[in-house]
Amino acid sequence: MHKSIDQINERIRDGTARVVTAEEMPAIVAELGESGALREVDVVTTGTFGAMCSSGAFLNFGHAEPPIRMERIWLNNVEAYGGLAAVDTYIGVTQQSDTLEEQYGGAHVLEDLVAGKSVELRASSRGTDCYPRRTITTDLLLEHFNQAVMCNPRNAYQRYNAASNSTDRVLHTYMGVLLPNCGNVSYSGAGVLNPLSNDPNLRLIGSGVPIFLCGAQGMVIGEGTQHSPAGGFGTLMVTGDLKEMSQDYLRAATMTGYGVTLYVGLGIPLPVLDLDVVRATAVRDEDISVDLLDYGVPSRNRPAFRRVTYAELRSGAVEINGEEVRTSSLSSFRMARQVAEELKHWVEGGKMHLTLPTRLIDSKKPVKPMHQSVQGPRVLDIMDRQVVSIGEGEEITTAAKKLLKGDTNHLPVINNDNILVGIVTTFDVSKAVANPGKAHLVRDIMKKKVITTTPDEAVDIAVQKLEKNNISALPVVDSGHHVIAMLTAIDLGKLFGGRWLK
């Protein structure tokens, strides 16, 4: 049996279409069987509501008198793109306010406009013969714009890796606050309700397909940026009219210590054409798995603790290395349900008809990492290979002499096997000398927890280690934990002295 899109639209027009949400579908298929579900159900609605950073809107202000070609543009002190002529702009949701920083950003501008609040436009220009005006300041409501079109390059991730943190400090990430020593797990995604997870082969979702976008009737433009369906990480580029949107489904947010983002409500109705659609929409949280990654590793390739399903994540706790760790969602499942329910009412009420893609989206392509023609500086480019170290059993006075003679403030401490076991600084030695007590040997005063770097580590990562730990030197160690060089704040100066920058 097969149903055509026209048959389904006819039922929507008649008000006889059977519409269910993607959360209801697995039970229907289990009860009626695949063929039974195909006969019974005409449309499956999906929904998701979560942080979607790659979002924004095109705005057209209309011309001022005398006219201006805006080159630098701010809305409530949030800078918008000035490279479009003359009164067009694009405002991205993660752009932060010049004054309020992460407390207010592009996302807040869009939410304020949708909420009916006025927003201050400030713009400047060089002035030309055709556009003589040089500055403008005016308060605008959403109704004053000719167009306000949301256009989001990367939305509706098919799934998203979960996050934990193996380091001993709190991390502030786009995945929220990650507690030290794997103290929590953060995840995002609607799982069973996610649009692309209900159409993984991209037969139904493609260019021109109508969607629910923040309460408005929007449309899929095509594949989203970083679209990577090969790995199960498809994305969509979508658009919709900001003027028809609702604040219920468009919420500005701030991830503390990371920045501004926008919570977007997005849903797609899927026509149940054949058994393949039935099987795809019968997907459950248990069937969708993601990697649980260690965000403590500051690399593109973060190691995974394990794989987890959305069912496990939603249960409230998952196991990492034998320990129960509590989970938190960043996206709202209640709101995802509300999107799918609202969309269901739209289709049932004949407010939205379905179409098949006017152009299909690639369902196989992988994402590529950035091609880097120039490697950034690594520790080995600037490290100091002259290492003055000291044995753990040596006297503190010897350490003092070595510090003076070596013209350094840090002495890595090594054991009999030349392995790094600690570090002493000028401060540690001075303190021991000023308060003579029981301590006579280096091992009595050394710091045993040494933060280290490696020759091939990126300088930016090493700098972050210095900053986060409030220290000024890192021993550079090889794989056997032998000290082969030192990286101090002074070495960082080489980056600016031109020794590295050719």
Binding site: L179, R251, T254, T256, R326, S328, S332, R337
Partner: protein, 128 residues
């Protein structure tokens, strides 16, 4: 009931909490305390029927005592029920109900404030 006790340590270093426990015989549960050389602040939990006694005794020893009737406050209009606060809270105050709506066990809250910065929607506030 929860009491927020603040005291100065400038005039001597009286062990106020220990003394109240000894004098009243009430077993005080210290849920959170920040005490440094000059002042101290402690959040304590005491049985309802002995709250007045503990309060009066502490005030008698020179401490300032506030009765805390509320935990962290959720601004309903801002909360989207994501649940980012759930795993951050050391006292397991937050959870989602069967409709995936955020619910709070307010009596467990010790007002540590850790959830406030974890909330993407800035929907959580201290009640004081």
């Amino acid at each position: 009931m929860k009491l927020l006790v603040t005291f100065s340590r400038k005039k001597g270093r009286k062990p106020i909490i220990a003394q109240v426990v000894r004098d009243t015989g009430v077993l005080i549960n210290v849920e959170r305390a920040i005490i440094d050389s000059s002042e101290g602040e402690a959040l304590i939990d005491v049985p309802d029927d002995q709250c007045q006694l503990v309060r009066d005794t502490m005030i008698g020893l020179g401490a300032t005592v506030h009765l805390l009737e509320h935990g962290i406050t959720v601004k309903e209009s801002e909360c989207v029920d994501c649940g980012a606060c759930i795993s951050i809270c050391p006292r397991e105050v937050f959870s989602l109900d069967s409709d995936f709506k955020l619910k709070m066990a307010e009596e467990k809250c010790v007002l540590c404030g850790k959830c406030i910065e974890a909330c993407p929607q800035q929907a959580l506030m201290l009640p004081l």
